[in-house]
């Protein structure tokens, strides 16, 4: 075989290899660009409002834990997710209401002595977990 023939075959193989590698890389890119993105459909993506609800946690500004009162009522003042269901339970009273405003201010009766009270917030978006708070407040009559 002539020397020129060998060089031509070698160059042919080299060129073919380069073209094969180029095609293989290019086909990968094309395949990736053609693939569908795996993500929840648009209607299931959380809206900015929902994200806000997720951030909005139960904040109870009054009454403070272990607070002492000389009256048989107190006010529950705080904020929680809008349109959530709130349950305030004590041994003498259950209060169930929808938090339409986002803020709440409700009168709550107290029994003489210790009052163990649990507040649970069930967000409107059911995928979120309920938020809970437990407090103890005391009604000590000033006449005692």
């Amino acid at each position: 075989m002539k020397k020129e023939t060998i060089i031509a075959i070698f160059l042919g193989l080299l060129f073919g290899g380069i073209v094969a590698i180029f095609i293989s890389f290019k086909s990968k890119d094309i395949e990736l660009s053609k693939n569908k993105v795996i993500a929840p459909p648009k209607k299931n993506v959380l809206s900015p409002n929902v994200t806000e609800t997720e951030i909005q946690s139960l904040e109870l500004s009054k009454p403070a834990n272990n607070a002492i009162f000389d009256k048989n009522t107190t006010h529950f003042i705080g904020t929680a997710a809008k349109d959530s269901l709130i349950i305030i339970q004590s041994p003498i009273k259950d209060l169930t209401f929808k938090n339409t405003q986002g803020k709440f201010d409700l009168e709550f009766p107290l029994a003489l002595g210790e009052n163990s009270i649990k507040i649970v917030v069930y967000p409107k978006e059911k995928q979120f977990r309920p938020q809970e708070k437990f407090i103890k407040v005391y009604f000590i009559d000033s006449e005692l």
Binding site: S116, K118, E132
Partner: protein
């Protein structure tokens, strides 16, 4: 005679002048001496009020309340089992100050410190100093536990339910005839009285139970339950 009349007139005039000047001199001196006394009295009263208010404010600030089961009582001191509620568990009685009451539902009855027994649940209000509370008021009451969770099991023969709370505690609640049972209407959100047959596994339950110092395995007799049906969370 004329002279005598003139003298008499002069003497009378002088006398009148003297009297009037004396009276005029007295009047201002009276007002001058009384007004500062009134002002001082007012200042004293104001100061007294301020001191009283400050004392009340400080007393309110230092006034604390603790509660727990009586571990032991010895004369003028008492120790409580209130782990988790804070460090203060030593109580001191003041013979002249401390008042003790037993709460009977909505009424209270005054008793003596000697009537307090071991395992009584007591609520103490007083001033804390050096981790010791000097009791102004001691109330003997019942201890209530308020919690919520999901019903995981219902036993219709023994009228018992098992509840799993969010902090992974399991409670076994006996539903007695005296147990108040309510259900939240998912449309109106009003509470309705229900019977045991309405309870379903998977429902959310808010409950109140009476605690004593002797319970084991979280077994309680329910005082009150409030059910949120699972349908509320599906709708």
């Amino acid at each position: 005679m004329k002279k005598i009349i003139q003298y008499c007139y002069l003497v009378t005039l002088l006398y009148c002048l003297l009297i009037s000047s004396f009276v005029m001199a007295q009047t201002p001196s009276t007002t001058a001496s009384s007004s500062p006394t009134v002002a001082v009295d007012k200042d004293i009263q104001l100061l007294k009020d301020k001191v009283a208010n400050k004392v009340l404010e400080i007393r309110k600030q230092n006034n604390k309340a603790i509660s727990g089961f009586v571990l032991n009582i010895d004369g003028n001191t008492m120790k409580l089992n209130n782990s988790g509620d804070g460090e203060v568990n030593q109580v001191k009685f003041d013979d002249t100050l401390t008042k003790v009451f037993r709460i009977l539902r909505t009424t209270k009855k005054e008793i003596k410190t000697g009537d307090i027994k071991k395992n009584d649940y007591v609520i103490i209000s007083g001033v804390v100093a050096d981790n010791v509370i000097t009791a102004n008021v001691v109330l003997i009451d019942e201890n209530f536990l308020v919690d919520s969770g999901k019903i995981t099991e219902i036993n219709k023969e023994t009228f018992n339910i098992k509840v799993l709370t969010s902090d992974k505690n399991t409670y076994s609640l006996d539903i007695e005839t005296s147990t108040k049972q309510y259900l939240v209407n998912i449309k109106t959100l009003l509470e309705e009285t229900i019977g045991f047959s309405k309870l379903k596994e998977g429902d959310t339950v808010h409950f109140v139970v009476k605690k004593t110092s002797s319970e084991k395995n979280n077994d309680y007799s329910a005082v009150k339950i409030l059910i949120i049906p699972q349908e509320y969370f599906i709708k």
